[in-house]
Symmetry: C2
Subunit: 637 residues, 2 copies
């Protein structure tokens, strides 16, 4: 994208074609990756995932560019003085030998980076703009993750996932921060890092950014081998939410500014940071989930899948942009937007659009992921300000390992105290093993590489990504065998079996199995009774779930098809059997309608409205007698 | 995209959020457009197409921004002197009050534009980079056009389409150039355009860029109403190829540089321009069509639709970039890449990928188109260097009208001399009417708005686009009625009926109907006998079509399934009846195999190869006896 930017912005022929050539190099690498991966998949080699392959090819290409290309750009590397300006304007007009050139503000640059940064024009051109990752490439990846969360299993394990994501990431961040601070102290002691400013907050910053796990390689193998769904969900859910936490945490730490001594603890600033974290997180969550439009509920856009898909895409992107414009984090917003879209909007879409949106984001995810990993490989040789410090790197590897252990084992122990279905030892080991680092850690690290500590962190983060993706990613299959984790499970079978036992148990309010249940049950009840009917065509009619005095509103918001659609709640959340359903609704459905007819207190909405309500319930009763068919409300209304 | 660029490149918070806000404005406009269009489609109003709607909303938003936003950017508008530099480097480092800022080269700017261009920061921010259109937004549109050309009807009318596209566009360009030159002379005469340089080549330049028709609105209605397929194909094919011609023509004219007097005719420079045109066109064509990979024929990528789709996308993009990198025009390359992909690669893809690629490009086309039209609306008020010259605008409208008439009627007359199935009068009127101007004319006009003549051309082109899209686009349905053009034709019915009569006639070498046939027949024969079998799994085995001495190569290149797949040539190009097929192959299939067995001259390829050839033909004969079934070659081999 930075390539695109360069490509489109410079008209001069030489630069112009340069841009095309660079993009071609990238395309070529990605094509190579695809072909290699096809070869591997065809032969069922599972030790190299496409992201690993992309990284490898990037690495090779970086090596070639590094040592084959020559410095050629004349005139850069020189700093010009300008006394007339007080600050950098966004556009600068410069008169050079009677030709006026327009320059666009790019960035502030540190004095110590001026020389290295300007050395090799080719390397410079191969460098993406760092903010591209967080603003262009990551959002589709994160959205896709949110959009493809296995809903049922996700909500069932919600408590555990949230604990891993919030508490676990916080633990990981602090543990890494502390260990790194120890190493930094030691490095200063032995005389490295002379003249650097390296505070505890910097260590925490590193801890936060490297805490974002990205087990895409592992998850791909899990998916392929049909590993136990609970393990998959725990790991996937943790990694998705943990990204959001790590991103907001990194941001909160980077704006933590104690008033006086940066090394001393400043309670006010600390609490302000905590407040920032909570505020940003909650705000982004709110914006993201509010974009799950019920627009799609009342428009019959489903006749035009292209319009529907377009609307879906634009709204999701708007969620990102709104959060950014409001000074929050767009990525978190887009994640929750994805989750809510999957949960509500998805059900309003036409089948055609459901597939289109899924495939579109799958494709964008695929491309973006491979571009990032390919670029990581490239960056190892083409990034010009690497600082390899063996001690720091060693420290980071130790810290990451220890922090992962401090995250998984204690939290699993705590969770097992409350969970009906325990997280077994081998699952814990697998989760420990699956703490890969990837795109998010890299994107956070590359965002700011101005100061030397940040450059050292970037280099270290890159090495950690390489190591974990190749070693742990490649070792997933042997590890699964070694830990005797069962594979080849059909998730639908699993679901049906459990649903059968659970639909009985849950409605009887007896939890017999599987649950960290209370959170799930509260959520499920609220969601099923109120949110689903308001936002989608599914769920019980609101007239039956809301209190009496809300009836006019309820009838307005309830989709006509809700009265009938009940039984085939497309969502596979629950497959209720008919007895239960009948029972469930005979008890509740009788209350509102007669009450309304008798009291007449809600007649302000007019007769048509009441009629529609009646009709709805009438049809619903009809539906109970003929559960297979679905009455067309539109034709009879 | 320029928005994206701004968005990602500037870190400073204020600018950063500004970028998000601008993109949000765009998203908002597009969402509005989608909802409006849904409303219109739902009520079957056909007078406003989504592109027209996008333009309208863009216009309104432009008006708001124009008069509601205030100038705020301090420091821009001032030109700084720099004596130390001799030319503009790509990156500039400037020391401002001891902080070093990096600036990126954006463009050269004319002296007379310095003041207006810098007035309003908001307007400036709303301006896309002009090269975005040709490099980012148009390629998917053009590719999609090529990819969705109705193949059979397209090739059947190939001669007519090529004539309209090449000869017609050339006529249009010259006629407009001449008329505009007259108007310019008149304007100079009455004292307008003082001090401007306005040569005949500039007029021709305008003629070339405004000759690119874009009847997207009309075609959408045609598609919806199922208008006569031949008319649709003629119009669609003309508009698609004519874009390519206009783009290359514009480029050729812009680099036409006579040595001495720019007003005098310079034969050498003229022929160089013609040579340029032919070279660029042929080169782009070659690059574009060479990316129709038979990579996909031999890899069994179809088991992994995501990889396949990714590969398809990357290869198509590579076609564009390769052409650009080679100094040719990427758009033309991408167009022919689309056509060839549809003709060959498409048949090698798995059904899943066929749908994915179609939907992906459909979606990209939809978004890009609406962004461009929305931006056009915006540009009418936010572009800061408009030059409205009533006489020039009037002249341009007249010229466009006259040129379209000089294009369609004489060429149709000529074509009808040769065509079996004449182009009727009402079709000609409809084609005359459908000469809308759109995205390509706009993109070509906005690419260079430095000099005053170019600014005047841009303004005029914009107005022509507005007028034609709204007036002619909106008037399509009444016009169809008025011209009594039949609608509601099922293209498949049409196809079957004609195919039945034609498959008999064509193979007997008697053309009874419809054709400007000789070009088509030559092409079809070559394509069916050689290209299809080489590039796809379809078509007759190469062993039967190539001369004897090519047998080893032929057997290598022929897909095993070609021997059997024959009959169900998925392409609907021809549905041959079995007698013909049998006859066709009994005559040709006997020759190569015995010849090879007797002479032994081609045994260098080994026995397996021969065996496979035999097996293939054996199975093929089997297939003739049981035409309904399709033998699985893989299982028996």
């Amino acid at each position: 994208m930075e390539e695109l930017k360069k490509y489109v912005s410079v008209k001069d022929d030489q630069f112009y074609h340069q841009g095309a050539v660079e993009l071609l190099v990238f395309n070529f690498l990605l094509i190579l990756t695809i072909l290699t991966i096809w070869l591997f998949k065809n032969h069922r080699f599972r030790f190299l995932h496409e992201t690993g392959g992309a990284m490898l090819y990037g690495l090779v290409m970086g090596l070639i560019i590094r040592y084959a290309a020559k410095a050629s750009d004349v005139g850069s590397g020189t700093v010009y003085e300008c006394e007339k300006l007080k600050s950098g304007p966004s556009n600068l007009l410069i008169n050079i030998t009677n030709q006026i050139y327009e320059y666009q503000y790019k960035r502030e640059i540190s004095h110590h980076n001026v020389n290295d940064a300007q050395g090799n024009a080719m390397l410079q051109k191969m460098a993406f703009d760092p903010s591209i990752f967080l603003n262009i490439l990551l959002p589709p990846i994160i959205f896709h993750a949110g959009y493809s969360l296995k809903k049922r299993h996700f909500f069932r394990n919600l408590g555990s996932i949230l604990t891993y994501a919030f508490l676990g990431t916080a633990i990981s961040c602090i543990v890494i921060g502390l260990i790194m601070y120890g190493f930094v102290k030691a490095m200063i002691h032995i005389g490295q890092l002379k003249g650097w400013e390296f505070h505890f907050t910097d260590c925490l910053f590193f801890g936060a950014l490297i805490s974002a796990t990205d087990p895409v390689t592992v998850l791909a193998i899990f998916h392929e081998l049909h590993v136990d769904t609970d393990l998959y969900t725990l790991l996937f859910g943790e990694s998705v939410l943990n990204d959001a936490v790590a991103i907001v945490l990194t941001y909160s730490i980077s704006i933590y500014s104690p008033k006086e001594n940066p090394n001393a603890f400043d309670a006010a600033a600390f609490f302000q940071s905590v407040g920032n974290f909570l505020g940003i997180f909650a705000g982004s969550f709110a914006i993201g989930s509010s974009y799950a439009v019920h627009l799609t509920k009342f428009t019959k856009l489903c006749e035009f899948p292209m319009l529907e898909t377009g609307l879906f895409f634009l709204l999701s992107w708007s969620a990102f942009l709104s959060a950014e414009a409001a000074g929050l984090t767009g990525i978190v917003a887009v994640l929750f937007c994805g989750v809510t879209q999957a949960h509500y909007t998805y059900n309003n879409l036409s089948p055609d659009s459901q597939m289109r949106t899924k495939q579109l984001f799958e494709f964008m995810n695929f491309l973006a992921e491979n571009v990032i990993f390919c670029y990581m490989g490239l960056a190892l040789f083409t990034f010009q300000n690497h600082i390899f410090n063996p001690l720091f790197i060693f420290g980071a590897f130790v810290a990451v390992f220890v922090a992962r252990a401090c995250n998984i084992y204690p939290i699993s122990f705590l969770l097992n105290l409350g969970r009906k279905q325990k997280i077994p030892r081998n699952f814990q080991h697998m989760m420990m093993f699956s703490g890969l680092r990837g795109a998010i850690a890299f994107s956070l690290a590359i965002r700011d590489t101005e100061s030397q500590p940040k450059q050292m962190m970037f280099t270290t983060a890159l090495l950690i990504v390489f190591f974990t993706v190749w070693v742990f990613g490649g070792g997933t299959t042997p590890m699964l065998t070694w830990l005797q984790i069962r594979v080849g499970i059909d998730p639908d079978e699993d679901l049906k079996a459990e649903t059968a036992s659970q639909s009985a148990s849950n409605l009887d309010k007896n939890t017999t199995k599987t649950e960290s249940a209370w959170l799930f049950r509260i959520w499920y009840g609220f969601d099923h009774k109120y949110l689903k009917p308001i936002l989608t065509h599914a769920g019980p009619p609101l007239t039956t779930t809301l209190p009496e005095w809300c009836n006019p509103l309820a009838r307005l918001l309830t989709s006509p098809s809700a009265y009938g659609d009940q039984m085939k709640d497309g969502n596979t959340d629950y497959i209720l059997n008919h007895d239960e359903l009948a029972e469930n609704f005979e008890s509740s459905a009788h209350i509102p309608v007669p009450a309304q007819d008798q009291t007449g207190s809600t007649q302000s909405t007019g007769k048509e409205d009441i009629h529609e309500g009646d009709l709805g319930l009438g049809a619903y009763k009809l539906q109970l007698e003929h559960p297979a068919g679905q009455p067309k409300m539109n034709s009879s209304a």
